[in-house]
Symmetry: D3
Subunit: 223 residues, 6 copies
């Protein structure tokens, strides 16, 4: 408690960008259906799509002091990830903090708590995935930690992990397996092209995926 880790490793920017293009659903599948945050993590505006390196924050409920500390640790392309140490829906983050984070090249905030000034943030184009929107103010009294492992939205996030976020939610890709996840994502995307074409032409998934026999074995009856 009360530690700021200043040097963290990050994945390569090209891998990060490609994971972002693949999107949350594909990346989550590509890494064996792991890493997805809970469905309560929603974007404050539709259409945002981001990938970046996690700068993590463990903060007490209702105390946003560590956000100021974390901003100093940001590099261009990072994503702030804040996990409160107990459930809390207060508004830790608003337009001033966003201004400061953007000045450091920060791409987004992922927070398992509340955010405020959402109209300003939307106008600024600063993407946020949060568990709540709330104007409720926080204090600056108790320290937490920056760049330590946190559980955010029910998912483990290590500093430097790749965060992929879009309208479907937020997925965490461990830094060490980012390249592997990307390879898997690319394979999926390639395979989906052909499937989409055939399904659009009216072919059934039952046939395309060869499911009929196994369904019959399981005992499915048509009446």
């Amino acid at each position: 408690m009360g530690v700021v880790v200043q040097n963290i490793e990050r994945a390569g920017e090209d891998v990060i960008a490609a994971l972002g293009e693949a999107g949350v659903a594909t990346v989550h599948e590509a890494q064996g259906r792991t890493g997805l945050m809970a469905a309560r993590m929603r974007p404050i505006f539709a259409g945002a799509s981001v990938a970046g390196s996690a700068v993590t924050i463990s903060a007490p409920p209702g105390d946003n002091w560590m956000l100021h500390v974390a901003i100093e640790q940001l590099q261009a392309g990072d994503v702030l990830v804040l996990a409160p140490t107990a459930p809390c829906d207060m508004g830790y983050f608003g337009d001033l903090l966003a201004t400061s984070a953007m000045a450091r090249g920060c791409r987004a905030l992922v927070i398992d708590a509340g955010v405020r000034d959402v109209r300003d943030l939307t106008a600024m184009g600063f993407a946020v995935w949060s568990a709540a929107v709330s104007a409720q103010g926080t204090v600056k009294e108790t320290i937490g930690s920056v760049n330590v492992p946190v559980v955010c939205g029910g998912a483990l996030v290590n500093p430097g992990d790749v965060i992929v976020a879009d309208d479907d939610g937020v997925c965490v890709v461990p830094r060490g397996s980012a390249a592997e996840a990307l390879a898997g994502a690319r394979k999926r995307l390639a395979a989906e092209e052909e499937k989409r074409r055939r399904l659009a032409a009216g072919e059934l998934g039952l046939d395309l995926y060869g499911m009929r026999e196994r369904l019959a074995e399981k005992g499915l009856k048509y009446v």
Copy 2:
């Protein structure tokens, strides 16, 4: 369990279309305030308005196999209605299934669970009312049933019932009483025209509906 009913009856397309135009709130009122699904069933994009015949799916939590089975049973103008057998917010349905369903003429999905690829679905104009948005992947291991009665969003849905859905939520109209519900809806819409005009002109509901006497009888005091 494990049954696919292949031939279901549907209401007439003109009745279905007219119920859709009347909208959820009016139809729900017109059939005695019944048939409404729970408020957790929300559209993935604003402005969608749909009516169609229910092709129902009873599926295990986290298993979307039966969606493929159900798609074969679709006719143009149908709405898929999926009820998991236990609460579940996983993403059963995404853009590939939507492509396949649209190729069969499906109008929408109503699902008391999660959906993913919501940006793609929005771009495709495929309407979904769901309890959650989640990229969490599902398996294809356990069979369920298609076109059996289900409880979805707290409402009983029989296959072939008319589903009406818009920004206010989702309402189920039993096939057998669709014509009667439509007649009631038309009566309400006609009556509302006049009321809207008078209220807009500043007349009070207290006078328009003649409420003052009954309020006084109940003991309402003005101070």
Copy 3:
């Protein structure tokens, strides 16, 4: 129970308007982080921003009779605030009531329950902050009260209090301290200008707010 208070005092229109311009987050901070309603109170469409005088309603669950009574008490610039006497997500309010309320100059509805006809309300530009969207119909059988103190969204609202609402939620400003809250809000807004400029230029909050020493005292370690 069963009382309608007909003459309530309101804050000055200029103060109300200025509080509305300051917005929820700023006003909430300016009055010592009090008065905010719970995060479940969400706008039915993005971008609405309203301030007005509260005409309060205490209503039974699933009974919207008192809305008709309250509308007669409205003056131009008022905001209806409805608190059910037990948790309820039914749709108390739709386009006919909105037509009537708008004819009286009402600016918005704040309701710790459900609302319906949201597409119509959006088209009419009638702003609503609610705990739910639901088409579920209500009855007119049991009386309640108008212009009595209510607890709405977890916040105490006295009739004539100033309601400020925007994308961040809803804040209640007691009528008697509205001028003071406004003064505080203006001070904050002025101070924020300079801060925003400096943060945008890359200055850190740690330096701008002089936090480094106190963080060290609390034991924060950089590693």
Copy 4:
């Protein structure tokens, strides 16, 4: 709306009693994992175990009038099942209604809403499974129906269905398949005896159920 069905059919008392002895988990399994109410339906005291015939009530939120109507329809061995027409946690039922129901031979109440006087009910030994405990009073203003199909706790209940309830929750057995469910339950119970003995002796489920090969086929790796 507004109907009381006076003559309903019930299952045989011996079948009902035997289903009650089998218990919720076994009966639910025996009928293909169907019929279970949602986990929010909890007993007000531990150790209660009941089976009986459903007398169903569809009631408006916050209105307990139909309970008085339903009590007249009770026969000895019946279970009251109340479903509100919208989510509601108010206290529909207390010690006076329990006194009246017990005088008619009623065995329990299952209610997807609230109950009160729980200390008295516990002292009287009147079992209740409810979604909430709340002293919040209800009105008697709006009629509903008795002995019509209802959705309670997410499960469809027809009048005369067998309700089985214990510490694990509440399960509905359709009257027409009660005998079949009982036969299945008895088969399970017999099979479990032997399994319990072998598991208690230290045999592993992996061996008892012959799971090892199929796990290996699915790709499970031991490291």
Copy 5:
């Protein structure tokens, strides 16, 4: 913010004791179905029944400092009532604070947050009604207020109000109307005796309360 009101008025001890004997459901009814806290406020052990004068606490989320301040303000027969300024389920209160509060004659704690050491509190016989049980520790960094009006469990509590709590929940009786509430409660209790006797003898509520005619007028049909 940051105020401790040292002298508060309390209701007479005999009125308080009699309200406690009447119990939550009766008192809530006797004062027009007002004052009940939300159903999430549950006792940590069954069978507790308490009435006392409210010493109120407004505390920040996750900060229990004001409990120490409030304990100094306790008189024998008081009940601590803590409302956090934002939703919070952390454990503000445990066995040491209970020891201290009991030494001052405190009867119970009502807290719209969490409590811990519940086994010790149960052994000590110190009653608590809370929204959660949680061992999560709190800090002592930010001040709040003692003996100011608070909204706890959705109900307004003024210091010195009478708190009545039992297995049905928690009810607030405004100090100024405590005698009136008691009179109403006594009337109800007297009337219930006779009703209970007649209902136990098999008389129906339909007849006892003369409901049949009004039900018929509302349109109830027997089939």
Copy 6:
């Protein structure tokens, strides 16, 4: 996915036992207020108090196959910890699995999902902390992993970590810091003895902890 780690390290039994005696609240404090699971994790019966080594399970929603696999990995004194890969309240575990687990010396189950046969489990004295009680049956179709890191109840659990659970909830102590946590817990317990004695004698926390000056500095006003 699909891995069973067979050899895990465990903390010393004496350390584990002593942490169990210290209890959840003390241990959680002793390790810097970390490791606590969410408040939804509740015991199925009051009074249970357990400490043991975690054998972890990552299982798909509604699939309890991995429990059978995990039981083979149990040693005397272990605690099963199951985390579903998506939110799920189904009943993964009942009396047969408990019989098997007890035969292997298992002390308890901690599960962020549902459990059933709770009356039998209570009679057997097998302690369970779960997010729900539900009879809903699960399948055995999809593999997961045993003895991999999991997030359960919002807390990270590595296999072999010490699980401490009692009426206050569940706390995870990393195996590597178990001795340190115990030392801290012992220090706290020793200090609490003296505090409890002085508080019971009527001394105020304000004086015992020397809080008055700091409260005054923060601006607390007595009126």
